[in-house]
């Protein structure tokens, strides 16, 4: 079996957690298959190779340091062609989505999305993908080389956080054709409330039904001295501002108590809140994935439960 290549991810000069989560897993898989664990770094991130001690070797490509969908995909393709890894791990993130499928498709390799489990299986690998909003796990077995999109939070970052001095090898790649140009980073807007600092959060999802009903969550939050947060669907519907959004494209929160009202618990949402100390979920769907991460659950109508709580609190 060949090597495992990890496509590192960085933002504003720091490797992101997903990088170490993938490195830890890659190291384990390489150990089992007798291959090497390789980390691909971009531009100036080469200077931080010592943070990638979990890798047996670091491959450095001289792209611009700032992420660019086009040039990064071209660089990853060149690295996969040069190193022929048996498995390439890419984050199932905003950036990874631009890279994995184009590289795999261009090279005629299978790509497996939403991976939360990977094991070696004979001459290849077996992947578990979270599908249908976390309601189904789908197993894909691939014999031969593949590219996988790894869901954040699936593997412990600690396993990949080893400093060291891995050998660094420069790999020349073409500059790409310049059809996509980075312009600037836009920082998140400030907000009256920073939900990442809140001790107690009352979070609402699609199940809240309408903008007018947000008030119920606000009333409950006030009674519990909590702040109101929400899932992506609520922001997209224009019911709450982006600064209140928890999840993959929103904020990561770690309150003492997280009360999820009408949130089904899609993987993108769980990514942002599953490390809360106590999670309480209220949902009418008894099979909602939120109940798998919750410590306490009520399978009931959120309006009834909230109104009853408010009455008793008064």
């Amino acid at each position: 079996m060949g090597d495992i290549l990890v496509v590192t991810e960085h933002l504003k000069g720091d490797f992101q957690d997903i990088t170490f989560e993938m490195l830890g897993k890659a190291k384990e898989l390489a150990g089992a298959t007798g291959g090497k664990c390789l980390a691909l770094v971009f531009g100036d991130m080469k200077n931080k190779a010592s943070e990638l001690g979990a890798a047996d070797a670091v491959i450095a490509v001289g792209t611009e340091t700032e992420y660019n969908p086009e040039s990064y995909a071209a660089a990853v393709k060149a690295a996969v062609e040069a190193k022929s890894p048996s498995l390439t791990l890419v984050g199932s993130t905003s950036m990874g989505m631009d890279i994995a499928a184009p590289v795999a498709t261009a090279l005629g390799l299978p790509v497996v999305g939403y991976c939360c489990g990977i094991s070696n299986e004979g001459d290849g690998f077996s992947f578990v993908s979270q599908q249908y909003g976390g309601k189904m796990n789908v197993v894909t077995n691939v014999s031969g080389a593949a590219v996988a999109l790894v869901l954040a939070g699936s593997f412990p970052a600690e396993a990949g956080q080893t400093s060291g001095s891995p050998a660094v090898e420069d790999l020349a790649v073409s500059a790409g054709n310049g059809k996509v140009r980075f312009k600037k980073l836009i920082e998140p807007q400030g907000s009256d409330v920073d939900i990442t600092q809140s001790e107690i959060l009352v979070a609402v999802g699609r199940g809240i039904g309408s903008k007018d009903d947000i008030e119920l969550a606000e009333n409950l939050a006030e009674a519990l001295k909590a702040d109101v947060a929400c899932s992506r669907a609520v922001v997209d519907a224009g019911w709450l501002p982006k600064t209140r959004q928890v999840g993959k494209s929103g904020l990561k929160v770690k309150p003492k108590v997280y009360i999820a009202l009408g949130i089904s618990g899609a993987p993108e949402h769980l990514e942002g809140m599953k490390s809360a100390s106590t999670i309480i979920a209220i949902n009418t769907d008894k099979n909602a994935p939120i109940f798998d991460v919750a410590h306490y659950g009520i399978n009931a109508d959120l309006f009834e439960v909230c109104e009853e709580m408010l009455e008793e609190l008064e």
Partner: protein, 248 residues
């Protein structure tokens, strides 16, 4: 400027999902399908671009199947100019779906393709990037906010933690839309009926679907319940827990 929006239906997750007898696919007998929510956002963004004068034509396309006509007429009722129903071989994974849309997009011609950023069943990669690869076009995923400026677009790509990156992309190209600038519009049933009487669907071919994903589903099952949640019966029980945790 002409925009194509490929549309697809996915199982409504409000329903209980079950695996069929093969152990490899969903039992589709009792589940409802609906438009992929991100495709709805892609359509909305396309319609907004047309309304502000940046685009001249919005074309939607979908693979023929149950409820496809209704989905396409609804898109016309919302303001799309043309709807194409693709018949022929039925794609069985995202790669084949992308190949069908790539074939149809080549025939139709366009400057920009807006695809939904992802769907709940795209096991073998997301549609937009695969489609872009087949067409040899640049692609940016997780886009929320598109501005047309001559022969390029200026887009906002969402990163984690609320961070956004602005990119410029030359046209033609493909964008994976995460969210439109406003909530997708709603087409009243009366309007859809009216459109059904006054407009017709164009037809096209899915064409040669190619080899597909290069991998098959080995098995499918609901995740094992961790069973960690203690189920409570009432609001009163919940308040007791909150007292225990020192919240109240």
């Amino acid at each position: 400027m002409k925009i194509i929006v490929p549309l697809k239906q996915v199982p409504d997750l409000v329903e209980d999902l079950e695996v069929d007898g093969s152990g490899k696919a969903l039992d589709t007998d009792d589940i409802k399908f609906k438009l992929n929510e991100y495709d709805d956002h892609a359509l909305e963004e396309a319609l907004l671009l047309k309304e502000e004068g940046a685009a001249t034509e919005v074309v939607v396309m979908a693979i023929d199947g149950d409820e496809t006509d209704k989905m396409l007429y609804t898109a016309l009722a919302k303001g799309a100019d043309k709807a194409i129903k693709l018949t022929g071989d039925t794609p069985h994974d995202t790669h084949q779906l992308a190949q069908a849309f790539a074939n149809a997009a080549k025939t139709e011609g366009c400057d920009l393709i807006l695809a939904g950023v992802q769907s709940v069943d795209d096991r073998d990669g997301q549609l937009g990037p695969v489609l872009a690869t087949y067409l040899g076009l640049p692609c940016i995923s997780a886009v929320a906010g598109v501005k047309v400026q001559g022969s390029s677009v200026l887009v906002n790509k969402e990163y984690a933690g609320g961070m956004v990156a602005e990119f410029e992309m030359d046209l033609p190209g493909v964008l994976g839309i995460q969210a439109a600038r406003q909530t997708p519009r709603y087409a009243p049933v009366s309007k859809v009926r009216q459109v059904q009487d006054s407009m017709s669907l164009a037809t096209g071919s899915t064409g040669d679907l190619g080899a597909g994903a290069g991998s098959e589903i080995a098995s499918m099952a609901p995740p094992e319940k961790s069973g960690s949640a203690t189920m409570l019966d009432s609001a009163g029980d919940l308040l007791e827990i909150l007292k225990e945790k020192g919240v109240i």
